[in-house]
C-alpha cells in the first residue's frame, strides 16, 4: 500500500500551456505511469496538448474526468488562488511545488482550506511532491531513483535531501512505499505528524525515515507524536547543525530564531522519543538498511 496516492489517483495539472512548467512536469509524471487525465488553462479550454485534454477551470476538469488530485507549479503570485480553485472544485489532494509564496498568502490559504474545505489535503507548497514507486508520482522527484515494493516510508522537509535518501536506500535494494516531500515553508499544508500517522497506519510500511531541518518546532512536535503513537522504527536526519542563528538558509522556514529551532534541540527531542538519529544522510541510509535487513 501507499499513503495519500496510489494507482487509482487521477491528476489534473493546473496551468498547462505548451511552454509551462506544469506541462513539463505533468508529462514526466505521466511517463512514470501517473494517471494525468486533465490540464487547466483559462485561455485554452477545449484544446488537447500532448494528449492531455485542457479545461478552462478545475471544476470543468473534475466534472469531465473525475480527477481526484491536482498538481500546481504556477508562479508565486498565482499559487494561492490556484490552490483554492482546486479545493472549491472538490479536489481531495493538492500538490503545490511552487517556491516563493509569501508567508501571509500561505497562512490565509491554509486556514481557508481548514475552515471551508476540510476534506482537502494540501501537500506543500515549496516541496518536491509525492511518489509511491511504481504507482504514482506527482511533482518533480525523479522516478529513476525510487524503488517499488517498500518497506520504507520517507517524509522530508528538504527536496534534494529527499532524493539523497531515496538514492541511498534504492542503491542498497531497499524500496519505498511512499516518499512525501512536505516542503520547507513556514505553513506547510501537510506536516510530519500527518505523514507519520499515515505511515503508522499503512500495513506495508515497516519503517519510517524522517528528514528535517532547522527552524520552527515541527520536528519537536513530531518527536512527541513518535513517542506516543509510532510503533515502527524511525530513522531521522536533521540538516543545519552549523547554520548561524537569524539567517534564512534557503528555505523560508529554515531559520534559527533566538535559541529556538536549532538542529541540536531537534536531534535531542527525536532521540529522546526513541528514534535513531543519524549524523549525515549517508549514515541515515546505512542505519535504515540495517533495520530493514533485521526486519527480514
Amino acid at each position: 500500500m501507499s499513503i495519500f496516492v496510489d494507482e487509482t489517483t487521477t491528476v489534473v495539472v493546473q496551468g498547462v500551456s505548451p511552454t509551462s512548467q506544469g506541462l513539463y512536469h505533468g508529462l514526466r509524471n505521466r511517463a512514470y505511469g501517473t494517471r494525468v487525465v486533465a490540464g487547466t488553462n483559462p485561455r485554452r479550454g477545449g484544446e488537447v496538448i500532448e494528449g492531455i485534454p485542457v479545461f478552462s477551470t478545475v471544476a470543468d476538469a473534475v466534472e469531465s474526468t473525475g480527477a481526484t488530485a491536482s498538481f500546481i507549479s504556477v508562479p508565486p503570485p498565482f499559487a494561492a488562488a490556484a490552490i483554492l480553485e482546486a479545493a472549491e472544485a472538490g479536489i481531495s489532494f493538492i500538490v503545490c511545488i511552487t517556491e516563493g509564496i509569501p508567508a501571509h498568502d500561505e497562512a490565509r490559504t491554509y486556514n481557508r482550506l481548514v475552515q471551508e474545505h476540510p476534506g482537502t489535503r494540501l501537500l506543500g507548497p515549496n516541496c518536491p511532491g509525492i511518489i509511491s514507486p511504481g504507482k504514482c508520482n506527482i511533482g518533480i522527484t525523479s522516478g529513476d531513483i525510487a524503488l517499488a515494493g517498500g518497506p520504507v516510508g520517507i517524509v522530508s522537509r528538504s527536496g534534494t535531501l529527499t532524493y539523497q535518501a531515496l538514492h541511498e536506500l534504492s542503491q542498497q535494494g531497499v524500496g519505498q512505499t511512499t516518499c512525501v516531500g512536505i516542503g520547507g515553508d513556514p505553513v506547510p499544508g501537510t506536516n510530519f505528524i500527518d505523514c507519520l500517522a499515515a505511515f503508522e497506519d499503512d500495513p506495508d510500511t515497516k519503517a519510517i525515515m524522517m528528514i528535517g531541518e532547522i527552524g520552527g518546532s515541527e520536528e519537536e512536535r513530531a518527536a512527541e507524536f513518535i513517542a506516543a503513537n509510532v510503533t515502527k522504527p524511525v530513522v531521522c536526519y536533521i540538516a543545519g547543525v552549523t547554520a548561524p542563528p537569524g539567517r534564512k538558509m534557503g528555505h523560508a522556514g529554515a531559520i534559527i530564531s533566538g535559541s529556538k529551532g536549532t538542529a541540536k534541540a531537534k536531534m535531542e527531542a527525536l532521540s529522546g522519543a526513541g528514534a535513531v538519529v543519524a549524523e549525515n544522510p549517508t549514515e541515515a541510509g546505512e542505519r535504515m538498511v540495517a533495520i530493514v535487513k533485521e526486519l527480514g
Binding site: 514526466r28 508565486p76 503570485p77 516563493g100 509564496i101 509569501p102 508567508a103 501571509h104 497562512a107 490565509r108 491554509y110 486556514n111 481557508r112 481548514v114 475552515q115 518536491p128 518533480i140 522527484t141 525523479s142 531513483i145 522530508s156 528538504s158 527536496g159 534534494t160 535531501l161 529527499t162 532524493y163 539523497q164 538514492h167 520547507g184 513556514p186 505553513v187 528528514i211 531541518e213 532547522i214 520552527g216 518546532s217 515541527e218 512536535r221 536526519y237 540538516a239 543545519g240 547543525v241 552549523t242 547554520a243 548561524p244 539567517r247 534564512k248 538558509m249 534557503g250 528555505h251 523560508a252 522556514g253 529554515a254 533566538g258 538542529a263 549524523e279 549525515n280 544522510p281 549517508t282
Partner: protein
C-alpha cells in the same frame, strides 16, 4: 530581510503608526541639521541590525548642537558586535511615562498570527516571557478574518495598559497589524511603545523583518534591499541571483538545494573543517549558474578548497558534469575543487568528467569522502600558503643581505 530602525520607522509611517520626528544622518554635520529640525533635546541612535545598541554606547541624549557633534562623532564608526555604524537616526527625545511592548508574528505551530502586548516594555520580550510570563497578553489572529477593533480594545484592557493609553494603543495595534499583514512582514515589533508624560502613545523603536517572498508586490522595498548586507561576498552573490550566506571557514561550498547545502556545511564540520559559506544553486546546475557560483566563491580570499556537491534528480548528472566542465573553462580558480556528483545518470556524468580530473580537480563518490578530501586540501593549502610566504620573505631577506 531585516530593516534598520530608521527604515522600520519609515515603513511604520506608511501605515499611520506614530513615531517621533527625526531623520537620518551619515555625518556629524548632517546629525546637527537633523537635530535642529527635530528640536532639542534629541536622541542620537546608531543604525545597526543587532540588539544591545544602548549598552554598547550607541544611543545618546544630546541637549544642544555641541553635544550632538560629540555623540555623533563617537558613534559613527563605532563597532557594535561586529557591525560598524555608518548611519545615525536623530530624533526628538520623548518624556516617557510608560514603556510597553507590541508585536505581530506568525505562530507556526498554530498556523495563525500571534499578537503580543505587554505593559513591561523596553526590555527583551524573551526576558519578560521567562521572568514574568503573565505580563504578556497574547492574541491569536485568524489570517482569514484579521484583527478587529473590538478585539484590540479588549486586548489593551487585558494587558493592563494605563487607562489614558488604551484607546490610542488599540489604534496603534490596528495600524501595526495592517503594516504586518498588508506590508508582508515576518515580524513587526515596537519595543518600546511609549506613553508620554503629556498623554500620547507612539513607537520609540521599530523592528521589522520583511518576507522576501513578497517582494514581487512591494516595489517600495527596492531601497531596503540596496542596504541589506555589508558583506561584499553576499552583495556579489545577490547581484548574480544566488542564494548565498557568508560563513567564517575556508572550505567553499556549492550544492543544489537548500537542505543539501546545509547538510554539506554540516558534513564538512563533522570531519573537522569549517565551511566558508552556504550556497544553494537550486535544482539545476547549468554552466551559467555554476560559473556564477564559482566566481563568488573564488572572490572570497579565505577559501582554500571548494566542495561542489550536486545530486542529480531531474537534472541528470551528465548535464551537471557538462555544466561544471564549461564553468571551469570560464573561471580562473585559485583553489582546488572536490566534486561529488551523484544521482540520475551518474555513470555517464563521471565518464564525461574523467579526462578533466587533475590534482586541482578531484572527484569522490560520496559526500563524506568528498568532505574529508576538501578539508584536507584546505588544510594543505593553508600550510602551503604560510610556508610560501615564509620562503618569499626569507629569500627577500637573503637578497637584502647580499
Amino acid at each position: 530581510m531585516d530593516l534598520y530602525e530608521y527604515q522600520g520607522k519609515q515603513y511604520f509611517a506608511r501605515y499611520g503608526i506614530p513615531t517621533s520626528p527625526g531623520g537620518v544622518a551619515d555625518t556629524v554635520d548632517e546629525a546637527v541639521t537633523q537635530a535642529e529640525a527635530a528640536g532639542y533635546p534629541v536622541v542620537v541612535k546608531a543604525q545597526v541590525k543587532v540588539g544591545g545598541r544602548g549598552k554598547a554606547g550607541g544611543i545618546k541624549l544630546a541637549n544642544d548642537a555641541s553635544e550632538v557633534r560629540a555623540h555623533a562623532g563617537s558613534i559613527l564608526g563605532m563597532d557594535i558586535k561586529g557591525h560598524v555604524v555608518r548611519r545615525l537616526w536623530v530624533e526628538h527625545a520623548s518624556d516617557i511615562a510608560e514603556e510597553y511592548y507590541a508585536s505581530f508574528t506568525l505562530d507556526r505551530p498554530a498556523k495563525t498570527h500571534l499578537g503580543m502586548l505587554s505593559r513591561e516594555g523596553g526590555v527583551e520580550i524573551e526576558e519578560v516571557a521567562a521572568t514574568n510570563p503573565g505580563a504578556i497578553a497574547r492574541v491569536h489572529i485568524d489570517p482569514v478574518r484579521g484583527l478587529d477593533l473590538g478585539t484590540a480594545r479588549r486586548w489593551v484592557d487585558d494587558a493592563g495598559l494605563d487607562e489614558t493609553a488604551r484607546a490610542q494603543a488599540a489604534d496603534v495595534l490596528m495600524a501595526l497589524y495592517r503594516c504586518y499583514d498588508e506590508g508582508d512582514c515576518d515580524l513587526a515589533e515596537i519595543n518600546p511603545l511609549i506613553l508620554t508624560v503629556d498623554g500620547r502613545v507612539h513607537a520609540l523603536d521599530a523592528k521589522v523583518t520583511l518576507d522576501d517572498n513578497a517582494r514581487f508586490r512591494h516595489p517600495e522595498w527596492d531601497e531596503y534591499a540596496a542596504t541589506e548586507t555589508d558583506d561584499p561576498r553576499e552583495k556579489m552573490a545577490k547581484e548574480k541571483g544566488l542564494n548565498y550566506i557568508g560563513l567564517s571557514g575556508d572550505v567553499g561550498i556549492i550544492a543544489n538545494g537548500a537542505g543539501l547545502a546545509m547538510s554539506t556545511c554540516d558534513v564538512v564540520n563533522q570531519v573537522g573543517g569549517q565551511p566558508a559559506n552556504f550556497l544553494d544553486i537550486g535544482g539545476g546546475a547549468s554552466a551559467d549558474v555554476m560559473s556564477a557560483a564559482l566566481e563568488v566563491i573564488n572572490a572570497d580570499p579565505s577559501v582554500r578548497a571548494i566542495f561542489v556537491n550536486i545530486f542529480g534528480g531531474i537534472t541528470r548528472v551528465d548535464e551537471v558534469a557538462k555544466g561544471v566542465i564549461e564553468a571551469l573553462g570560464r573561471v580562473d580558480l585559485r583553489s582546488p575543487i572536490v566534486l561529488r556528483l551523484d544521482g540520475t545518470n551518474v555513470e555517464e556524468g563521471r565518464a564525461l568528467l574523467a579526462p578533466h580530473l587533475t590534482d586541482r580537480l578531484v572527484a569522490e563518490p560520496t559526500m563524506l569522502e568528498a568532505a574529508r578530501r576538501a578539508v584536507a586540501m584546505a588544510a594543505a593549502a593553508g600550510v602551503g600558503r604560510t610556508a610560501g610566504r615564509a620562503t618569499e620573505r626569507e629569500s627577500r631577506e637573503s637578497e637584502e643581505r647580499a
